[in-house]
């Protein structure tokens, strides 16, 4: 092992993690690049052809065609194309939107991204915290409480996000019109830093947020319960009890140790829940990436789809990396260099 890492296990852990995330990043960019090229024939003419089924003028089509040929660089050999794409991505150039021509993809995404982040990050975090407390309680109490909490969590977590979203819209926005049925803010408002806008936005926020949080709670509670039950049966817990350590304190040991894998669970949430969360946005016509993606798919706006998937991947990778850094900090075994992989 390299000299720099000797006696610096945390640094080694970080470097190793950073390396793997870099590999994942390159793999993701490569997928983003190569998968569209699986479309048989010339992808540009296929896409433009699909579009021409709609009522678009042929002059516009012509312009689109040349613009996309240039963007895709189809006359170049593949590795040159990939290089062009990669350098473009690194400079924040994700190409030109098709449905919103001539807007740049990045400019459109930039407006939608804050809404998605503002909706999903709090939902995941709140769901994670509440879910963990619930799961730990269920594991510790056992009996009837556990049975209800566990079955309830199973039910919540197995309802697809968007099913709950649809039911919420119907129940609380249509049948009993307590909340708005769609959008991130009311017609006539404009996103600005004002109290009135904030209140209006919060009002629109409630339902989508709640539908995401509930499902997230269910999933996390199940994970935590499982970990906590596992920890409750470990040798160290039995030993502590044999020494007459109090229940309160044993619970604290268990909670802490069951929590560590749950931090990884948090990272996984970012990756796996985002799909369902995107559709939830579409259900609420929330002005985030999900709704944008929904429209982009309907309009076959390939550069936009590609841009969104790339941004999602990057965000998830970044979130995961941050979680891993924190994890390495918290777990003494990693700080001391005992375990490289979790």
């Amino acid at each position: 092992m390299l000299r720099v890492f000797r006696n610096r296990p945390y640094l080694l852990y970080l470097t190793r993690k950073a390396f793997w995330y870099l590999v994942a990043f390159v793999a993701a960019v490569a997928l983003n690049f190569f998968l569209p090229r699986l479309i048989p024939g010339n992808p540009v003419s296929v896409i433009v052809g699909q579009m021409s089924a709609g009522a678009v003028e042929s002059a516009t089509l012509e312009r689109l065609y040349t613009a996309f040929m240039r963007d895709f660089g189809l006359d170049q050999p593949l590795h040159v194309q990939f290089w062009t794409y990669l350098t473009g991505v690194l400079q924040g150039d994700l190409g030109t939107s098709f449905m919103l021509y001539p807007s740049k993809v990045w400019d459109v995404i930039r407006q939608a991204l804050p809404w998605t982040v503002a909706l999903q990050v709090p939902a995941i975090l709140v769901g994670w915290i509440v879910g963990n407390v619930l799961g730990a309680l269920a594991a510790y109490k056992g009996g009837t409480f556990d049975r209800f909490a566990f079955t309830g969590s199973l039910m919540l977590s197995s309802i697809p996000y968007f099913c709950l979203a649809i039911i919420f819209v119907y129940a609380f926005a249509v049948h009993w019109p307590l909340f708005p049925a769609s959008g991130g803010y009311s017609f006539g408002y404009f996103p600005e830093w004002s109290w009135a806008f904030f209140v209006d936005a919060l009002y629109h926020y409630a339902l989508p947020f709640l539908s995401l949080v509930l499902v997230a709670i269910g999933g996390q509670a199940i994970g935590m319960r499982e970990m906590a039950i596992y920890e409750l049966n470990t040798d160290y817990v039995n030993y502590a009890k044999k020494l007459g350590v109090s229940d309160r304190r044993v619970v604290r040991y268990v909670f802490r140790n069951a929590m560590l894998p749950q931090i990884t669970g948090l990272a996984i949430s970012f990756g796996t829940l985002i799909g369902g969360a995107l559709v939830t946005e579409a259900v609420f016509s929330y002005p985030g990436l999900g709704s944008l993606l929904f429209t982009a798919i309907r309009q076959v706006d390939y550069p936009m789809i590609q841009g969104i998937t790339l941004i999602i991947t990057l965000t998830v990778l970044l979130a995961n990396f941050l979680v891993d850094i924190a994890y390495g900090f918290i777990d003494p075994r990693i700080r001391a260099g005992q375990v490289g992989e979790r």
């Binding site: 040798d235 009890k241 020494l243 007459g244 040991y253 140790n257 003494p332 075994r333 001391a336």
Partner: protein
């Protein structure tokens, strides 16, 4: 002198999810006397750890005491309430070094914090500093480096973990220490050190008695005063160490003494190769003498439960000795 702890007619069973009972300890009467080292030996699975849980008053689900008496210093221990049991008995009157001590330390807790927790949960008035100081003195007294207090478990070697656990378990000077297979995960050198530590604890009068559990009978030669041999949830022979090790009377004890242990790398618990066959299924143990299916000397009486027969101070549960008087219960 009273017995530290004693069980009478003990039936301790595990309840399986399918609703069956695993009769791990099935009718055992045994007393641990103050000032003695009592060895308990037998093949793995015969119920030693289960008996240790009852003697250590640390029974928990799915294990339960189906019937029998458990006496702590002469009083009914099963009637003690949970909190008294935790505060006054566990770790303080009777303490345990559990089987598989390698995993018995919380991986994210420094040893010093465990020490603090153990001491303060028995005496809330003690300060954290004092607790650590006491532990340091104790380690010093026993010749262990005090820096282990700052370590996380994974930073300790296997042998060191075993010793640290022994010290933590005896911090409150318990009357009795139960050690369950303290050597089976260790190499020969660490085994010797671990046993020497136990002898030290007795010599320095930190503890008064030891129950030493092992599946390797020869190990007991150096430590035990008395030995109890178990087979399939029952005692088969109990007596003084020399008698059992050099003149065993029960056919199973003979096999255990005479058998050669073949070390197989990678197998935690070795099987006794000197006795052919396997122990019975503990859900449905055979009627009569439980050893009969494997016993080279079985005869027509053996399909009935043997009584304990007394042979110069020891008890033997075998029909071969039916001409001896019934054993006198101590």
């Amino acid at each position: 002198m009273p017995n530290v702890v004693e069980v009478e007619g003990l039936e301790a069973y595990y309840r399986t999810p399918a609703g069956d009972d695993i009769k791990a300890v099935d009718g055992v009467s045994l007393a641990v006397r103050e000032g003695e080292v009592l060895g308990i030996a037998g093949e793995s699975g015969c119920g030693k750890t289960t008996l240790a849980q009852v003697l250590g008053l640390t029974v928990q689900k799915p294990l339960y005491v189906r019937s029998g008496k458990v006496l702590l210093e002469g009083r009914n221990a099963l009637a003690l309430d949970r909190e008294t049991m935790r505060r006054e008995v566990r770790g303080k009157t009777i303490s345990t070094v559990p089987q598989g001590a390698m995993n018995s330390l919380n991986p994210t807790l420094r040893v010093r914090n465990l020490v603090i927790d153990v001491m303060r949960d028995h005496n809330p008035r003690i300060r954290r500093r004092e607790a650590v100081e006491r532990a340091r003195e104790r380690l010093d007294l026993l010749g262990l480096p005090p820096r282990v207090l700052e370590a996380y478990p994974h930073q300790l070697s296997g042998g060191m973990k075993q010793r640290v656990i022994t010290v933590v378990s005896t911090l409150l000077d318990p009357v009795l220490l139960i050690v369950d297979e303290p050597t089976s995960a260790l190499d020969v050198t660490s085994q010797k050190v671990a046993i020497k530590l136990l002898v030290d604890l007795l010599a320095k009068r930190i503890i008064r008695s030891i129950v030493f559990i092992t599946h390797e009978l020869p190990l007991l030669r150096h430590v035990a005063d008395r030995i109890a041999i178990m087979y399939a949830g029952r005692l088969v022979e109990v007596g003084a160490m020399e008698d059992i090790v050099f003149r065993p009377q029960h056919p199973y004890a003979e096999g255990l003494v005479g058998s050669v242990l073949v070390p197989e790398p990678g197998m935690k618990e070795r099987t006794v190769t000197g006795i052919p066959g396997r122990p019975p299924d503990m859900r449905r143990p055979p009627a009569g003498c439980r050893f009969a299916p494997r016993c080279p000397k079985r005869f027509d009486l053996c399909d009935r439960d043997p009584r304990p027969f007394g042979i110069d101070g020891r008890e033997v549960w075998c029909w071969l000795h039916r001409d001896q008087p019934n054993a006198e219960r101590p």
